[in-house]
Amino acid sequence: MSRSQILRENIVKESPRDDLIRKDRFPHIWCPGCSLGTVLKCYVEAIASSNIPIDKHVVVSGIGCTGRIAGYIKLDSYHVTHGRPIAFAEGMRIVRPDLEVTVISGDGDLVTIGGNHFIHAIRRNVDINVFLVNNFIYGMTGNQMGSTTPIGARSSTSPYGCPEYPFNLPLLVASLGAPFVARWTTLHVRQLADAMKRALQVKGFAFIEIITSCPVGFGSYNELREGLDFIKLFRDSCVVDHNADLTKVGITLRPGEPIVLGNFVDREVPTYHDLEKEVFKKAGWLK
Amino acid sequence: MRWDIRWAGFGGQGVIRAGEILGRAAVKQGLDSAMRPMYGPEKTGGWSRADVVISDEPIIFPLIVKPDILIAMSQDGMNRDGASLRKGGFLLIDGELVKEIKSSPSKIYSVEATSIADSLGRRIVANIVMLGAFAKAFNIVDPEILLQTIVESFPRAVELNKTAFRLGMEKVEEV
């Protein structure tokens, strides 16, 4: 074969991962430049390379842009009410130890309206995976600020800049004793997929904060109008530090203040299910 | 025949437990019974009341408006519920704790349940003493079945409760 022959891009109708996505629903509803599809891609790769049978994976999501992820993944998938996917997942996981239940939902859903369920699920250490996609804003409802919006960032309900401190999620989750805590962006696709794969293996509450691009929502209010602006932001201002001091990883998005990424926590912590076994023993059900 | 029996006392005296045991014994005997516990918001020391209905027919209205029998285990219980006793009804009191009668009964029975319980070393069995007194004073529930129900309810303190029950039966007197 000589180099004079032209190798062209091949125009096709399906991708090799179409067995794990609901291809009849593609293209999805997410905006151009939004990276939620990338999160989906990373998750698909993570479950495909996990040792857990595909049919035992369950995705639960709530309301919002990220909440739609359940509708695009070809697994048993449940799209529940706003803020409640973690409570739904807990109920499911507690009665069915054979299921690998993963909650994929947004920041507004999981830690703002659903904040109470979030902290209590971590405290209990129920064996679920929570992949929280943080776009710093309520996208679907029209770009209102939320509990992850950085101070000073503008949104449709913070036209003068957000006056509230945002959550430092890795610190919050680690402080509650979670066995696995990580943060990656949608630019760090392979690290993200690896972290997801690890989260699936971890026993107990495994948490990944995924920083994503949101050009039409957060970006349009904060000079990040294209998806590529976010990619550049992530490329230029992220530092990877697995051993970071979590008290210092809050996100400001101010110049010179990096977004710290890494697999911050990976430890063994007895799970709710381990402790529940003790209850069964004391009650005489288990010997 | 329907009996409306109101137990009144303060939290911690075992009023509600006594009412439950009485109702259970009645059901065991083939009667119908309903028991409605009520108490104040305090965890201990507040008012406490058990309304027990016992009937040889199915009970339609399970609550008590004017009791036929009032069992007052404290002056506070008497103050609170004394006036509710049906005119000509029966009163059973802890004679030591209840000093002032606030109802117009046809008969008053008395037993120093708290003292007797104290003498047994466990004040919490005052309610069992009272059940013994009740069984003796009123011919509503068979004392044997009542004692059996008590024994089943407290399998770890059988002798103590038997003694308390027996002393209640022995020491109750009409005043």
């Binding site: 891009e9 091949n10 125009i11 991708s15 291809k23 151009p32 599809g37 990338t38 790769e45 630019l187 | -």
Partner: protein
């Protein structure tokens, strides 16, 4: 003071640079530009055809077809599952 040593793999003579064959699903593309921007070899450029939503899906720049090293960054980063790369033997493709 660090002494920098650049080492050559001892098996360099038998190492092959992988060749990737880019596949595209035009109807899924939303022209976000991620694949083009993040291609380490600048293989992709904005195409000139538009799909039914008006987005121009990427195409291989002239003369770049054999530059794809199958790193699959475009495939990973694409939010639409609209592009993927198959690693091929250089002799396989026409």
């Amino acid at each position: 003071m660090t002494l920098k040593i650049v080492r050559e793999p001892i098996n360099k003579h038998i190492q092959k640079i992988p060749l990737g064959w880019i596949h595209i699903i035009p109807e899924r593309c939303k022209e976000c530009g991620f694949c083009i921007e993040l291609c380490p070899k600048d293989v992709l450029i904005v195409g000139n055809e538009r799909n039914i939503k008006g987005y121009r899906w990427p195409k291989i720049a002239d003369g770049k077809a054999y530059d794809c090293i199958a790193c699959k960054m475009c495939e990973w980063i694409c939010p639409e599952f609209a592009i993927f790369v198959k690693e091929v033997e250089r002799g396989e493709v026409v």
